[in-house]
Point group: C2
Chain length 306, copies 2
C-alpha cells in the first residue's frame, strides 16, 4: 500500500519575489474548518530564518496565500526560526505545535540542535490567524515533532513528542504543565527494518477511529532518506501499539522529493480526513509542498493488518 501523489503536485512553491518565502516552503499543517482548508507552512527567505505562512483553499489543491507570515520569531528563544507546525482543533480553539529554534537557549540542559537549542512549543488561536504563545512542553532537551491529539483522554490533553530516536506520549491538564512522570515512549526505530532503522517521529494529528488511533509517522535510515509509515495505537491508551506494519507507505521518488534543499525527504505534518479520503500534505526535499492521498478505509486496513 502506497500513498498516491496528486496530479497537481507540487501544490505550493517558494516565492522568489518575497523576502520571507524566497527559497523554501515545506512541512505544512493543514486543517479543514468551516468549509475551507487552512494551511500553515514553514517558509525560509533571504535570512534563512523559518517563519510560518498561511494559505487558504476551497478544494485543498489550489491555494491562496497571505503575503506576510502569521507567525514569526519574537525573541532569542526562537530567533533562528519557528518550524514544522502541526495544528489541532480541540474544544473550540486551535492549538499549534511548533519547534522554536533559538540563538539563546533558555532551558536548563544543553543546547543540542545545531548548537542553538530547540523548544517544543505550543500556541493557541481562536481564529487561525492571530496566535498566542502558550509555552514549551519541556525545556533543556532535544525534543520536537510534537503534536496534540484532537480530544482529551481521561480528562487530559495528550500529545506525541520525540525523544530521539523514539516517539513518546505526554499528558497535560492545561497545555502548560506536561509532567515528566506521565511521559512514556510508544515506539522507536527498528534497527533490522531498513527504512525506519534510525529515528522515528510523529506526522500530523492522529486520526480517531473505532479501533484505535490511526497514526502516520516519519522515519529515516542510515542514508538519511525520510519516509512515512503508519501504525495503530490504543484508543484509551495511545502508548499501546496495536499494530505496526513492516513496510513504509510513502518515500521520495519525484525529482523534487529527491533534490531540493535537503535531499531525499518526504516529511508530513498533516493527514487530513476529507470525506472517505486522507489528504497527506508533505514537504518535498525541504523545498516545496506536495499532496498524496489514500482511502481512509484502505489506510486503516493497512495499519491494522499490513
Amino acid at each position: 500500500m502506497q500513498l498516491k501523489r496528486h496530479s497537481s503536485n507540487p501544490i505550493l512553491l517558494p516565492n522568489p519575489a518575497s523576502d520571507w518565502e524566497t527559497y523554501n516552503v515545506f512541512n505544512p499543517a493543514v486543517i479543514l474548518h468551516n468549509g475551507l482548508f487552512h494551511m500553515f507552512y514553514r517558509a525560509q527567505g533571504l535570512d534563512w530564518v523559518s517563519r510560518i505562512g498561511y494559505a487558504v483553499s476551497v478544494d485543498g489543491i489550489r491555494w491562496n496565500r497571505l503575503n506576510r507570515p502569521v507567525m514569526e520569531p519574537v525573541d532569542a528563544s526562537d530567533s533562528r526560526g519557528v518550524e514544522d507546525p502541526r495544528v489541532t482543533e480541540i474544544e473550540g480553539e486551535f492549538i499549534m505545535a511548533y519547534t522554536a529554534y533559538g540563538s539563546e537557549f533558555s532551558g536548563e540542559g544543553k543546547p543540542t540542535h545545531f548548537g542553538g537549542g530547540i523548544l517544543p512549543m505550543f500556541a493557541r488561536s481562536p481564529n487561525l490567524i492571530d496566535w498566542q504563545q502558550i509555552g514549551p512542553m519541556v525545556k533543556g532537551e532535544d525534543n520536537k515533532d510534537h503534536v496534540l491529539f484532537p480530544s482529551r483522554i481521561k480528562g487530559n490533553y495528550m500529545a506525541f513528542h520525540r525523544r530521539s530516536p523514539k516517539v513518546w506520549l505526554a499528558e497535560s491538564s492545561d497545555l502548560t504543565h506536561w509532567p515528566e512522570e506521565s511521559m512514556r515512549p510508544i515506539f522507536g526505530p527498528r534497527p533490522e527494518n531498513g527504512w525506519d532503522s534510525l529515528t522515528v517521529g510523529a506526522s500530523g494529528v492522529p486520526i480517531e477511529t473505532e479501533v484505535g488511533w490511526l497514526t502516520i509517522y516519519h522515519a529515516y535510515d542510515a542514508s538519511h532518506t525520510y519516509r512515512l509509515g503508519a501504525c495503530l495505537l490504543g484508543l484509551e491508551d495511545p502508548s499501546v501499539v496495536i499494530h505496526r506494519p513492516k513496510d513504509f507507505i510513502f518515500e521520495p521518488r519525484e525529482i523534487w522529493e529527491l533534490r531540493g534543499d535537503v535531499p531525499n525527504v518526504v516529511f508530513s505534518c498533516a493527514n487530513v480526513v476529507v470525506g472517505d479520503e486522507v489528504y497527506v500534505y508533505y514537504g518535498g526535499a525541504d523545498h516545496v509542498i506536495g499532496l498524496a492521498t489514500v482511502g481512509l478505509a484502505e489506510l486503516l486496513d493497512f495499519a491494522r493488518f499490513g
Copy 2:
C-alpha cells in the same frame, strides 16, 4: 464634527508587482468577526477589471492580504468587474452586496452604466472566503450602492439601494425577491445644500442604536467632489428620516484623496463599530485605502442634533 484621519494613512496601497491589483485598491468592506478585521477591497489591475481582494488584520490598521482575489467576474453579466463590496453579518452567515458591471446586459431595461449595464448583486459565504452568488436585487436599471441591514425588521431582510439620485429602501423575505411595491425612497440630494446637492448613496452597513439607524452616506456636488454625511433613520421604519444634519463629516483634503485615479473622492463602504469608536474605511481618489475614526457617541450625537 469631522472624522479624524488615522496617522498610518493610507493603510493599503496597490501592488505594482501584481497583475490584478496593480493600479488601484479602494472602496473596501470591513467587518469585525471572531477577533479579526476582515477587509474586502475593490482592486484594478493590468486589465482594468475590478476584482475583490481580501486582507485580514488584528488591529484594523496593519493588513495581511491574500495574493489572489476572493471574487472575480464569472460571466458576461460581470465581465467588466465586481465593484464596491459591502459585507453584512446576519444570522450566522455573511452577505456581500456588490455591483456587477457587465459587457452584456441581462436585464429588461436599458444599459446605463458607461454603456454596459450594472446589476446590484448579492452573494453569501459561511466563511468569508468562498462566496456564492445569490442574484441581483433588481434588473434593468441603474441601481447600485446597495447594502444589507444587519438584522431583519418585521421578519424581512432590509437593504439600502440607490435609484439615482436618491437612497431607497427595499425589503425581501429571502434575499432573492425584492418586490417593487415595498421599495420606497428615503432621502435625496439637497439642491440648496452645496456638498450633497446632486446625488446621494449609502455607505457601509447602518449601525443599530437605541434611537435609530445611524447611517453614513456619500454625496457629490456639481464639481463631482465626493464627501460623506451622516443621518439618523427610524428603528422600526428606516424610510423615516429622524434627523439629517446640514454639514458633511468628511471631505477630500489629503493629496491622495484629491489626486489619484478619480480626483476629489472619499468613498466609504464600511463603518465598523470598534468598542466605542467607529472606524470608517474609505477609498481615496479611487486609488488607495484610508481610515478615519470618530467616537460612536459623538457621531450619534451629531446625527441626532447636528
